[in-house]
Subunit: 74 residues, 2 copies
């Protein structure tokens, strides 16, 4: 889960793409890493991580539950 700030691809897009790959390949099935964990893993800010995850929420690929986490829809 490495983010390159200098890339032409925006950090939130890189995050979304990398998460999508891990979801698609089945590496992530149930619960996604928490936003706090993702900020630690990526070095990104909270808002940026949210932005990346929002992509999936819009698509209906994941479901977020306050106090619980973010889950891959199946």
């Amino acid at each position: 889960m490495r983010i390159d700030p200098a890339s032409a691809e925006h950090p939130y897009e890189q995050l979304a793409r990398q998460l999508r790959e891990q979801i698609g390949s089945g590496k992530i099935t149930g619960k996604l890493p928490s936003i706090t964990e993702l900020t630690a893993l990526t070095g990104l800010a909270v808002g940026t991580v949210r932005r990346g995850i929002d992509v999936f929420v819009q698509e209906g690929l994941v479901q977020t539950v306050p106090g619980r986490g973010t889950f891959v829809r199946r």
Copy 2:
């Protein structure tokens, strides 16, 4: 265009609702006030105004053009 921070309705939701009313009633037809103008009009932060407008972008009600502005789709 008044926002009440103490309301149960979030500021970005209040903004979206009020803009929607003005669009629906035909008070706003072409270009929306710029984000900078909306922050001045509402006292909200840039990000919050963006959030409110994003609602319409998602819905396809408006179209944003970098360097130009935000326009009501017709």
